[in-house]
Subunit: 489 residues, 2 copies
Amino acid sequence: MLTFKNLDQTASYALLQEWASHPPSSHTLSAHQVHQFMSTSSLVNYHYAGALVNADIVSLLQIVAKEQEVVDKYKALLAGAPLNTSENRPVLHHQLRSTSESMYSAECTRLFSFAHTIRSSQKFTDVVQVGIGGSDLGPRLLVHTLSGLDVPYLKPHFLTSVDPDELNRLLPTLPPDTTLWIVASKSGSTLETQSNLSCIQPPPHQTIVLTTPNSPLDRPQDFLDIFYIDHSIGGRFSSTSIMGMTIVTLCFGQEVVEDILSGARQMDEDALCPDSTKNPSLMAALIGVWIRSFLSMPALGIIPYSTALAPLPAFIRQLDCESNGKQVNRDGDPIGYPTSPVIFGECGTNCQHSFFQKIHQGTDPIPIEFIGFRHAQTHKNPHQHMILNANLISQMTALALGQDHDNPNQRFVGSRPYSLLLANRMDAKTLGALISFYENKIMFQGFLWNLNSFDQEGVQLGKRITQDLLQHKSTYNSSLLQTWQDLLR
Amino acid sequence: MLTFKNLDQTASYALLQEWASHPPSSHTLSAHQVHQFMSTSSLVNYHYAGALVNADIVSLLQIVAKEQEVVDKYKALLAGAPLNTSENRPVLHHQLRSTSESMYSAECTRLFSFAHTIRSSQKFTDVVQVGIGGSDLGPRLLVHTLSGLDVPYLKPHFLTSVDPDELNRLLPTLPPDTTLWIVASKSGSTLETQSNLSCIQPPPHQTIVLTTPNSPLDRPQDFLDIFYIDHSIGGRFSSTSIMGMTIVTLCFGQEVVEDILSGARQMDEDALCPDSTKNPSLMAALIGVWIRSFLSMPALGIIPYSTALAPLPAFIRQLDCESNGKQVNRDGDPIGYPTSPVIFGECGTNCQHSFFQKIHQGTDPIPIEFIGFRHAQTHKNPHQHMILNANLISQMTALALGQDHDNPNQRFVGSRPYSLLLANRMDAKTLGALISFYENKIMFQGFLWNLNSFDQEGVQLGKRITQDLLQHKSTYNSSLLQTWQDLLR
């Protein structure tokens, strides 16, 4: 029997609060501490010596993890327990990369065969994924990162918002007869996707659909083909489903998909380890909770030193904010500690020439999650990658140690918190591992905070008011809505 | 004689603190209040009824603006006073769009003539701007936004980081003989730009340089042409200088440049008005200080309901964080109030399907700055723009009013702060106005906070450690640096 309680009901909460009132500094960060505070796995290592911790704090966090039964809850989730309590549904995205036979592996086989036919036909030059949110951010990350490893077989595009400027900018660039359209909508009724579809009216024999069975888009006779996603795969957790793998298969081939799934599977398995020093996603979850809920720092900068990961911060932002941006626990009771930080980010070294002034010398410490790689994606100009990593090392060092100076304007306070996620090379397998790392980190944080990380009721109110507005029903506050409409006309 | 004092030394500070301890809610936001709380100008209006203010608070903020002499300081800046105190320099970026004859208008004339020659020659198909920070973010915004209005004459590209994956991804897509290279580096010694340049070695007759006179890149014999920027134009304030206008002239022509400068000039003039209800950038500065320094909210989401402005949040982030992400005042004394929020953002409606769960139902209120337009850039599918704006209106309404519900998971607390910057259409003139709006907003906030917004000492320490590392000097903490180097090898 699993037990569920709020973070502030755990035995170590008060002790951690006590530590948070006088946290350790990192002014004297040593080589020894860098080796002491790392969590290792086969594909990624997580370094947290810069995260304002000491051995006592880490022990207390590990006790919290045990008391909150986070690995047991993960196992229950894998076994199909309905942990999405508000919708009374299981949470099945891990099954997308499990080796067991499933509906998904059948869908994948069908997808590989479809992609083979498309490629062999040589009928298509371009592919557009029409979708928003989970049907956009993950797939966009996958395509951008993989494009650094190989030239896509079809030229990939994305169409997301209802903004006509996005559509009108994209359309003239597409060859009408050789463009394949992927319409991706889990519900089959997404306003933006529906509206774009009715503007474009893509030819049926050039259109495939990704949706749930029996959705309004589940009309096989109207399209070239349909691939299905299960209701129990959340949109933000659907990168490794057909929502992401369709465009990846079409552009980069079956083997790349298999590498991504294998990397994600390996990280999913590593996430089962109860020892957080051998479970990077669990350790990252604990450090995140330390910084957010005990040190009360409100934001988190995601800084990959790899331009291949430029779309990663936006992907993680959805994953984190929709999962844990909540103020009631899984039972609907208000919680008394902050959750889900504001996620922002930019690649290094660009960030250094943009907002790192504030990170080094701003009034408040802003924690940074660096992501680094031992090797570049590409093999040309390796000297540049050495310079890139020298910059990463320098930033980590400057943030921790700071610098005293007679001129206060040239003083750096130091002890600014950061961690480093380190991997070998940004290839397809590592990409799968990274996606799993963040999915599982955020799942573990939901368990620690006692949230239901798998619904998103916070998006409903705006949707309902929009529907009422468009249908000229004004049930909410008619004169206010009318005023805005007049001002925006 | 101007007087300089910290925000907490102003007469109204304690009264505003008192209001901040029980701020007005926006649960009963009315049409009347929407009209009451707006600041108007010829090109943009700023609506702040949703920003948790009342008439008393706005009056107090206006008194602070007067006491801090923000408009007088702006006038002194325009007159050439050395307000960049740490570097003892004037701050000249407003002169870029003034009508008076200047070094810049001569440079513009030369640029227009150069661009005319390039276009007439029909020798080039592509143009790459090589630069980072201020030589990248503003120009990138300009090119992205303008591409929604017109097809660029040359295909534009950007190369920024020292990451070899960025370079190796771009190079194969460029036709070697018809690509024009713009090397943009104010100092002429930017590590990333220098390193990329030595990898690419672009042919001299295909390369132009943007730099300051006498910089290491000021070698006219080595390039097709050189255009100059003054030392007293900060990188982040250089969008309307040759740093931005060169690629804009080449891709979109002289008239577009003139429209941008005219829009910026008009907003610069509006910023002289001491009445903040007719000075949107001043009013936005005051509201920003209310939310950041009195309500202590640490972040700001920039949400344009226009995909043409997708690069805007990153541009504003640099502008804000490098200018005001500081913890000492202009005299080097520590300040006792928070400055510069964490800036993040994404376009609507995408944000609604990504992180708005947290904005509506997260544990902490996150202020949002919406940007809306009465008309789309393009004229096709106008129905879609109506749906887009219905979404914007619904989000603003939901954030303010919230929703009660028996099920706590479907409750929306409301009173979540936001403002709206509203303009007619995202054209070149409005783009100039937007850039000026944010530059001046941030300048006014620097005056209110008593900062020097025009230096960036916080970027120096990391740079120095990198140089030491690359030159194998280890003056800082050798064993720590060595450990990181080993781990990243």
